[in-house]
Structures are given as C-alpha cells and as structure tokens.
Amino acid sequence: MENFDYGKAFTDMWALGGKAFMTAQETAMRAMRESMAAFSSAGAMAEGAAALPDLAAESGELARTSRALAELMASATSLSAMLAQRLPEGEAGSSVASGAFRRMIDPRIWLGGGDEMDQALRRLAEGPRLADLWDVERKFLRLFKSWLTLRRHGMEHNILVLEGWMRAGRAFNERLAALSAKGEAPDGQRAMLDLWVEVANRSLLQMQHSEAYLKSQAQLLKSSTELRVVQRELAEYYGDLYGFPTRTEIDDVHRTVTELRREVRQLRRQLRDGGSAVAAAPAESPAERPAPPSASRRAAPSRGPKAIEAPAAVSVPALSEPAEPAPAAADTAAGGTARRGGRAGVGRRARKEG
C-alpha cells in the first residue's frame, strides 16, 4: 500500500471514529452536566451549578473542529496522491530522495513533523489523566474542560498547518507545471525533492509569519498553560490532603534560597571590596558607583561605524611579561583564596578540564 493510501485509510477511519467519539462525548457531557445541575439544585452542592464549566458546549466545539480537520485531511490526502504521481519513476541510488519526498508529502507528516512547537507544548502539558473520582467534581471538570479546550485549539491550529501544507503542495504543482512547460522539469527524484523543499519551505515560512498562525499558536500556548495550571491545582489538592509537599511550597523554599544566596553574594562582595583584593587591582573608576545620570548626553559618534576587515593572519607582538600572573598578583590571589576559603559551601577549586 502506498503512503497516500495509508493516509486515505487513516483519514476515513479517523473521520468515522472521530465522529462517533465526539457524538458520544457530547451526549456524555450533556448527561454529566444535567446530573451535576440536578445534584446541585437538590442542595447537595450549595454553590450553584452556574460555576460549573460548560462541558457540553466545549465538547460540541471540539466535535465541529474535529470534523473540519477530518474534511481537510481528506483533501490533503488527495493532494498528496497527486503529488506522489509527479515523482519520476525509479532511479538507482535515489531511493533515499524518493523515500524522503514521499514521506514529506504525506499529510500525517504535515501534522506531525511541521508543528514541532505544538508537539512540545503538548508534551509539556501532558500530565495526570482523569480518574474516576467524584469527590472533587469541580476540579476534575475544570481539568476536563481545559483538556477539551487544548484539544480544540490544537485541532484548530492543525487546520491552519494543514492548509499551509496544501498551499505548499499547490505552489509546488504550479511551479512544476511552469518548469515542465519550459522543458526544465527536474530530471530525477533528488532534483524533485530539492524543488519540493525549496517551495514548501518558503510557503511554510509565509504561513508562520501570518497573523492567523501567530494568533492560533498564542492561543495554543495559553490553553496548554491553563491545562497545566489546573493539573497542578488538582495535584496540590491531593498533596495537601495526604501531607506531601506541594509545588507551591517547594517554590516558596526555592525563592527563599535564591534570596538568601543573593544576600550572601552581596555580603561577600562588600567584604571583598573592603579588603585588599580590589585594592590590588583597582578599576579605573569606583566599583560600585552609580551610573552617571547624564550619560545619555555623551557625544554620539558623528560618523558611521568603522567597518573593519578581518585579517587573514594577525601578528600582534608578544608582551615581555609571562603569560601567568606576575608574582605580586599571584601572591594577592593566594591571599584572596585563603580569605575566600571561609565562604560557606563555596571553595575555589583548581580543577583541570579538557
């Protein structure tokens, strides 16, 4: 079976399966919401049902988006089949180019290989799955809603990506036709791959710079963050319940440690600047002086920058002093080391690298 046949079969299966899944999900969500509302109105949950996430609406949106993506996927599969037919017949030594070309016009790859960041976002958002627990309904429902929203935004983004690949496919086809008309069609599979890569790269970059793409990706980033936040809230609920340290508590500790370290560094600096280390190597101006307020009044260069030519070889005369610090400086350094040896947890170690 050819790649595009696989793709077609995959799309058909996805369309049918997805439709059934979404319908079932919509029904389930509606039933869940109605149950929760009834539960609430019966007084079991005093803080109104209005606060509950509207899962039915969210899952309905997801189903609609899923259908749109499935339809687009079917079109992409057709386009892929057409592009595959354009590939010149077998040519020795070009199996890699041929394989790469076939792979790169497979719509599944367009969704899987061209949205690296979206995948990264999803990976970052992956976390605990839903559990069959009902004592923290709202937390779970919020989690589920966030998951549905992320899926929907993911699919919406995939639609944009897929459209971008289809534009690339059409542009490639047009370019190929134009070259063929001039008798300059690529004469091998590798040349065909080169042309495809060039056209698709340009097309994808144009897509990435579009407002719609940037907006969609920002939305995806936001919803993946939201899912993560909600997951954490749930995890912290259980952490608190069972006496495990939570992320918030650990962050508190980290903040404290960072602030303490900052203070220690500042104190060390004050000690050092009051000692002989800096005196041994004074800067041309005081070390801790405030920035001159009138610095912006400096004379701006009245000419353009000097453009320097990098030389092929440089012959800088050697200095007369040795490469290592002069004895006096080395002594000072030793003294400094001795003083610094008292720092808590910080030693100046001469470790060999490389």
Partner: protein
C-alpha cells in the same frame, strides 16, 4: 539564542551558517549539495539513450549506494558517545559560585594581549559552541593569538533556579567573574566578549561598570529587539515577531507554570525557523555524511551541542522575553538591573560589534543598532559571512573571527 538551524556538516562546510542564513531557502542547501553529489556519485539523473547502458549505470549506482550505506551503518555502530567530544580545549576551574563556574584556558602560546578576555555566553545554549572542535574553535584561535582567555559557564539551571533574574546574572555572577579575573591577573580591567544573550549581559555590565571594562566585543548580539521589522528577508527575526505576538500575561503564566523557559521549548521554536530542516536532517543529510568519519563526527558534535539545551531560569526569562523582546527596554535605556538603569551611553570603552550577515535568529539590524547609542567614538563593526551558528563553526568565517577580534584587541591594549 545561538541554537539550531544547522546543517548536516556545519563544521566541515560551514553550511550551518548558510543553511541558517536564508531560511526561505534554508533546507534546500543540504539537499542541493547532496543532489549534486548524488548525480555524480550515484549516477543519478537520466542518462538518456541507451537503455542497456542506463540499466548498467543504475545497477552500479545502486551498488555504490548500498556500499555507502553499509559503511555508514558500520561506522555508526562502532561510534560511542565518548567518541563525540566537544569543548576539549584544556582549561582550569578558577572560581565557582552556586552553579556558575569560571574557567581559565591554558595558554597555547606566549601572551600577546595584556588584558585578559572573558567570554560570556547566554542562558540559551551553552558556551561550548565557541569550542566545538579543534579545527573549529574560536577559543583555540584566540589562545593561539596570545589571548589570556576565561569563560563563564552558567551551569544547568533547574526549576530550583527559577527566581534568578538578569540582575543576578549581570551584576551578580558576571560581576563576580570580572572581579575574580581582576584579582587573579592583577589587571585593573578586563576585556569582555559576549555571545548572543551573553552579549546583552556584557553590554549591560559595561554600561553599569565601565571602569572595569577595557574593551567590549559583541558577537551576534541583539540590542534593538524591534529592528527586525526593517528586515525584508523572509524568515529573519521570527523569534522577535513570535514573541511580540504573545500577551505578556501569558508569558508570565507559562513561565510561572513551568518554572523556567524550557530548553526543549526553545529548541522547537528554533526548529520552526527552518521548517524543512528537520525533515531532511536525519535521512538525506545524514546519509550524505555517514560514510565519512570526519564529516560524521562533525555532524554528531553539532548534534551534541544542540541537544545540550539548558532551561532558562524563569524570572530571567520573563525579563528576556517581556522587558527586552517585547518592550525593547535595552535600546531605550529603560532596562533596570539591581535598581540601576542600563544606559548605553555609559558604554564608553571601545566596542567591536561582530554580526553574521545572514543571521536569521539575530538579524544584523538588531545588532547594528548599538552603533548609534554607545558613548564612544571608537565603535567598529565586523560583518562575517554565515548565519547565527555558522559564524562560529562555519569554514568561511573560521579564519576571520578569532584573528579579527585578536587584532582589534591588540590595538587597544595600551
């Protein structure tokens, strides 16, 4: 933001630079090069006419391809991770604070420049890019030209470091490194060489502590984060555009949630900038180099560097993305570190600003903006061929970068 966008054999051919250089054509470079080789080596392309001859050529091409593949597979199976070494130039740890380490490189020749030079990379990617391999190493080139060279390694920040700020890195750690070098060497001032985000650190430090900085060298450093809008080359400055498209509150929330700007996340942003690259990288491009040990090792060294993506400490990442990328505070002299305003007019020491002509990550216009804002008349620019990474590891700029910097410093060492 030195990371990504490199070709299969960047250190060998400098394609890391050119591939990254022209994103609109980026991914074609490797394929075209390979295509030419393929046509020659594999008998690719239609030979026309004689079907029998064509068939023989086809068989021969297939046999060569198979042999090449076999050689490559054997080589890959023989290689171990320890065979792929980067940053091998000998150096000694001379100071450490928290996760930050200051190293001093051992001299390779007699010293020719009196003032010591400190290399500061950013928090996105690692300093090891400046010393990727022996024959593609800014570090070695500078040592060979008699520079007394130090480098600061920021370590691998974790979530525990999420509250570190740019203030901590610039005034704190970098400042401590400078003072330590002054103390060790007895030199009143140091030369600073900042790379990418590290260039922002060194620029800010030089503005805050001009008396301690003899000369400032910047490489691929963004100063005006909105100057990308003047670029008309497709794909250049995408990170600038992408960051501006985000709501600052969403950036805050994302970083608070993850506790950092994850290195893997930034890696995927970089990959987006050359969308076709990843699709060719591990098949077509890799196949082109896998039967040549030298090229294969070059490829794997670059992979090793790319894979080493530390997470960017959270609070510092917020400042980087919101204060700088979104609000452009550095060029407006509005950035505040440790309660002090960073005024570029205070950069009164000589400045050498090195940029890559085809840098799509830090477009030249974003770097060159510095020239009109520094408080020195001694401002020079060095434009090098290649892209963001290629300028350090590409063949075309390899001989120019180190010698250009060394000569410039040598003239200002009095």
């Amino acid at each position: 933001m030195a990371q990504q966008g490199t070709g299969a054999q960047p250190a060998e051919s400098g394609e890391g630079g050119s591939a990254a250089a022209k994103p609109a054509e980026a991914a074609t470079t490797g394929a075209k090069r390979a295509g030419k080789e393929g046509a020659g080596k594999e008998g690719g392309g239609k030979q026309g006419g004689d079907k029998g001859g064509g068939s023989a050529a086809a068989m021969s091409g297939a046999a060569r391809m198979a042999a090449r593949f076999m050689r490559g597979t054997r080589m890959m199976s023989d290689l171990r991770d320890e065979d792929v070494q980067i940053a091998t130039t000998p150096k000694d740890e001379v100071w450490r604070s928290d996760k930050v380490t200051l190293y001093r490189y051992r001299p390779l020749t007699e010293r020719r420049v009196r003032t010591p030079l400190l290399i500061a990379y950013g928090l996105i990617g690692r300093y090891t890019m400046a010393d990727l391999q022996e024959d593609r190493s800014l570090v070695r080139n500078l040592l060979k030209l008699g520079i007394d060279l130090f480098v600061v390694d920021w370590g691998n920040p974790t979530r525990a470091d999420r509250f570190l700020t740019l203030d901590d890195y610039v005034e704190g750690y970098l400042g401590d490194c400078v003072d330590e070098i002054r103390r060790i060497t007895g030199s009143a001032q140091v030369n600073l060489l900042g790379i990418c985000e590290g260039g922002v650190f060194t620029t800010a430090y030089a503005a805050l502590e001009p008396g301690k900085v003899k000369n400032l060298v910047l490489t691929i450093t963004p100063i005006d984060f909105h100057a990308d809008q003047a670029e008309e080359r497709l794909g250049f400055g995408f990170i600038n555009l992408w960051t501006r498209s985000l709501d600052p509150a969403d950036i805050d929330r994302m970083i608070d949630t993850h506790g950092s700007l994850p290195g893997a996340f930034m890696g995927s942003v970089f990959n987006m900038m050359t969308p076709m690259r990843s699709m060719l990288k591990y098949n077509v491009d890799m196949l082109d180099v896998m039967d040549d040990e030298k090229k294969l090792l070059n490829f794997l060294r670059m992979e090793k560097w790319i894979a080493d993506r530390p997470d960017h400490p959270g609070e510092a990442a917020k400042q980087w993305l919101i204060d700088l990328y979104q609000q452009n505070k550095l060029v407006k002299n509005e950035l505040e570190l440790g309660g002090r305003r960073v005024d570029l007019g205070n950069v009164t020491m000589p400045v050498l600003n090195v940029y890559a002509k085809d840098d799509h990550i830090i477009p030249p216009s974003t770097s060159r903006a510095l020239g009109a804002r520094v408080g020195t008349q001694d401002y020079s620019e060095l434009a090098l061929p290649g892209g963001h990474v290629g300028v350090f590891v590409g063949g075309r700029s390899q001989g120019l970068l180190g010698s250009g910097i060394a000569e410039w410093l040598g003239k200002r060492d009095a």
